[in-house]
Symmetry: D2
């Protein structure tokens, strides 16, 4: 059986990354990809990396062919999936939203960060937050997945062992994150020109970033509902792909063997590599791959520092979505995702 896949909103970087990864996934076929702006265009003419490699043509997002899919990936801005995912769910088609519509559980939080016009509580209530390593059991039987944001993925994987084992002070978690430019998308945007972003680093979103409530909600969920004191500051760095979070926490007791706790926690997780004692991950280690690498170390001054890297477009978006699809369809979780990072 081949899983028939549809992609809604396929002209962005997440769209082409889904196409790249699904191309070598032996269990699926992409039968439709939609775009508001490129209807009728050959996908291989639009994405030069696919020139001559696919006969797919961009369709409208309400094209009938999408109804014959087994699963739909939404790679759309917020609001779109909330409005239209129900149409597919009701037909028995599974949906994974790579956008943010099914991440925040709280109506007011959703309203504050994304607006409320299209809020659909029932649909949201039926969805599962698709961080594969955390919610695998629920994902298995889910019909609707809110695929995690890239920053939350790094923070949640980095802190899961510490929080689940109640080892850290939850009131003072600081996350200093760095991302490549691809997270800003493919739209014409002066601020993302090479001449504006290359040879530069800057913080952004200090006064509020949409991944803040998502991180806080899911950390709290890991902590059994306890409140979290969180500071989260993302930074833009001059590279295409890659995301790193440096996380500062206080251990509740001083004699905790953190290295072995991390190794133990992730020993069965294919996509999470805990590096050896004292080894610090670089984003290049996981470029183009679905892997997450974690390093944990005591810093001078007493803080415990966890560093975590992913490729923001893979484990932070398209790769994790496919990992979730594999889980939902009972496939080997690694299918189509076992490529090593591109180095150099």
């Amino acid at each position: 059986m081949t899983i028939k896949v549809g992609i809604i909103g396929g002209t962005g970087y997440t769209g082409v990354e889904l196409l790249r990864l699904l191309h070598t996934h032996e269990g699926v076929e992409v039968i439709a990809i939609s775009s508001r702006s490129e209807v009728g265009q050959l996908v291989g003419d639009f994405f030069p990396s696919l020139a001559g490699q696919t006969q797919l043509i961009f369709t409208k997002s309400d094209d009938k062919i999408l109804d014959s899919c087994d699963i739909i990936f939404f790679a759309t801005p917020h609001g779109v999936a909330m409005k239209t995912a129900g149409n597919f769910i009701h037909q028995g088609i599974k949906v994974i939203d790579l956008g943010p519509d099914f991440r925040l559980r709280d109506k007011n939080e959703y309203a504050q960060w994304y607006g409320l016009d299209n809020f659909q509580g029932d649909l949201l209530a039926s969805s599962v937050y698709g961080l594969s390593e955390i919610n695998r059991a629920q994902i298995k039987t889910a019909n609707l997945i809110g695929n995690p944001g890239c920053f939350p993925t790094t923070v949640l994987l980095a802190l899961k062992p510490l929080i689940e084992q109640k080892l850290i002070d939850l009131s003072t978690i600081i996350v200093d994150a760095k991302t490549g430019v691809s997270g800003a998308g493919r739209g014409a945007n002066q601020a993302m020109l090479l001449c504006e972003t290359s040879e530069s680093v800057k913080a952004y979103g200090i006064s509020g970033h949409r991944h803040y409530p998502e991180i806080k909600q899911e950390l709290s969920s890991l902590a059994g509902g306890k409140p979290i004191g969180l500071t989260f500051i993302p930074h833009l760095v001059p590279m295409i792909r890659g995301m790193e979070s440096t996380i500062y926490v206080d251990l509740l007791e001083t004699d905790i063997e953190v290295q072995s706790i991390f190794e133990q926690a992730y020993k069965d997780e294919y996509f999470v590599n805990v590096l050896g004692a004292g080894v610090i991950p670089a984003t290049r280690n996981v470029k183009s791959s679905n892997f997450c690498q974690i390093g944990v170390q005591h810093a001078v001054g007493g803080k415990l520092v966890v560093t975590c890297v992913i490729d923001n477009l893979v484990k932070g978006a398209a790769g994790q979505a496919i990992q979730n699809m594999n889980i939902m369809f009972g496939l080997d979780e690694k299918t189509g995702l076992s490529s090593m990072g591109l180095l150099p």
Copy 2:
């Protein structure tokens, strides 16, 4: 049957690229990888992109395990394969040299560009120049392959249709080539520091580059032995991977339909994409993939301009080597190589 692969000289960028590509190649297993400097080290500790993903340990290059391989890839500096490939060939083990030892046919040319101490004429005579799309038939039955240089690959694929059909003046071919920095290798080299190469472009090797005689020899071979008037100037550009050649030639007649000639010539070649009329390839289109993209256009002023891009570490090195291996072992040529380019 699984093909047992050995890699000699595995600590460079070509070595890790072979490991990356062979990792998802379903028909092979890498059973040995050697290194002079890293004997005994876990490969996954040396290459952080492989952390936790392989149990391979670097061995000596004369380790017995190499004798149980079906094929050996040499990813070594010039001179090494010339000296030791014979040991494997004589045992019936196939060899692909990614270095330059089995490319130049002329003893004097070899001496001039690489030195003569270890020249072995018989071995050289038995080897095949492994540009898959040109010498596929001989590669099928070869035991020893001289894998082409990266620059020659771009030039040969770009000019093959024009030369074979005798359409251009062979006396004034100009190749202006641009390469990413990975071609310079992984050795500690001040000139290749980020601070020395980033934000800069420069020509090099004007007074002579080792790929010059190789390009000339193989162009002449395509032309049935006719002499070639060649100018070849490479340039270093600030990126990791990617290679572009802009080639200036004169058509012998003015009314030649070059676009259709190229499309026709490569219609059955999976890895060579002739872009549509007027479309110019960028190196990013093929990043991380084994594809070659070609554009052909008449320039203002009358020259015909052929532009050709590859990933210098894939179609320009490790990918082409694996393509040759597939041909040698009767596998589907695309096995392990069907990934699309990484975009962005």
Copy 3:
């Protein structure tokens, strides 16, 4: 006496580069800068590199203050200066157009490449092509300067000695040029996003680039009006600033001492450095400076190869404009321009 400077169209990269360079020019004061889109905004809020360093506010381009200037720089798209420069010239205000309006001499060429609606023959006839090292004498007394394009600057400086001394075959000049991304300007443009241009090289404009007729016209002018056979292909490379031209020519005689010819030709030119025999210039050598570096070498195969580098925003735009201003006002030509390149 302080020269009062106005800048029309100051929100692009050329505008801010004029501001940067003029800031340390002891003989001038920028009293006005205009912008269609940013009228009323503090220049230091718009350009973060100038935060807190200037009280200038963007005005309209017809603000009266511009009439009290001694010189106006147009940093505008084509068409603007052709339409409005006359207003200033007639008041006795000197004008330097960094756009292309006063470069092409031929009405039909101008029409073909830029359109004809605003063509003003008399104004054009009174202008001087402002390549300082070539037309210094006429610049001295000019009221209206067409500041050269960046690509033409590299080609003209590279070939001036050879053409003036009638040493090369004029019928087969090939220019393979490479530029950083800043040449594409500061507008929101998907194709110039970091994610679209970084880690990539590509040719463009093969079927025609606006600098082609300009190069041809001025080469012909150097050759006393003889026709020129020119091929010119620019390439986009992943860096902010910098431009390199690799130029392939045939010497008319084989025993010409090109190195000394270049050294002699430029011995009195402060901004043109002929590098030592065999030394090849990199664009980083001149980053941020008004210098041009030239290397000349015989390539294997017989061509003479001249390589020439500039910073496209300095000697290729704002710096050369200021050099011309210095000449027009009788100042030391180096005033405000004597900074060395930024290395690394």
Copy 4:
């Protein structure tokens, strides 16, 4: 009067940056520059950005000409200045050490981070920590300056107003810093190749970085000797120049008007620009310049976040050294340093 300058250890990035900045400084002449490895070589042949622009030749570090200087800059690894600066001081020649020898006040700290063999307590005791904006008064009369490290410069300027006015909790200061690659110097170093550092971000020095004790010492000094609880983690980002520190602190009271406190604190400091409320500095804003930009903002979650950017080679090294020289010689502090940042 022209100040005669000597540079010891001039082949690194700090050396060439001193040459670049001093070249346009009207009050000085560099009369000597030494190098262990390049004695006798023309400086303009060694640094291609200076080709043809200087007659300086590298001398030995004990060349007599250095004794005729008014001031010596040491741009040497740790240990060198400690050993030899005294020779110049005793002759009445002023010394600025851009290395770390005269930064740490505590003998044991110095021993722990740099070794003790060449420790000279008296010389150290007579030196002044050269952060111009903090120690201007002492610098005026100093003969020996320990020029601050780049990271400490960002942290000290960012926290000076808060600490001097006793507004923050000193026990939990977290500094997450990012630096371009030039800080790693110009030596051949595999880890700093473009292919190893480009397209990647990573933390380093978590278990200890030499700037840690320096930051702590000087923060404590600002706090009147009170102890400081500090966490400091630097990160390497893929760019040549630039340094950013994101600093997380807790205000002691909630109703403090931090924006105006910063504006007031730095209103008379030419080189420190406090950006407008809500504006976050990018390193590109100060590329190539001696400026420091600071942004201050309340983060969601309650922390106060101060972000501070400099060019690590200018305000973080050579520029600050020249600023100190200007102060020591009674010159206008801005002399030779008034260039705006290079943008783009």
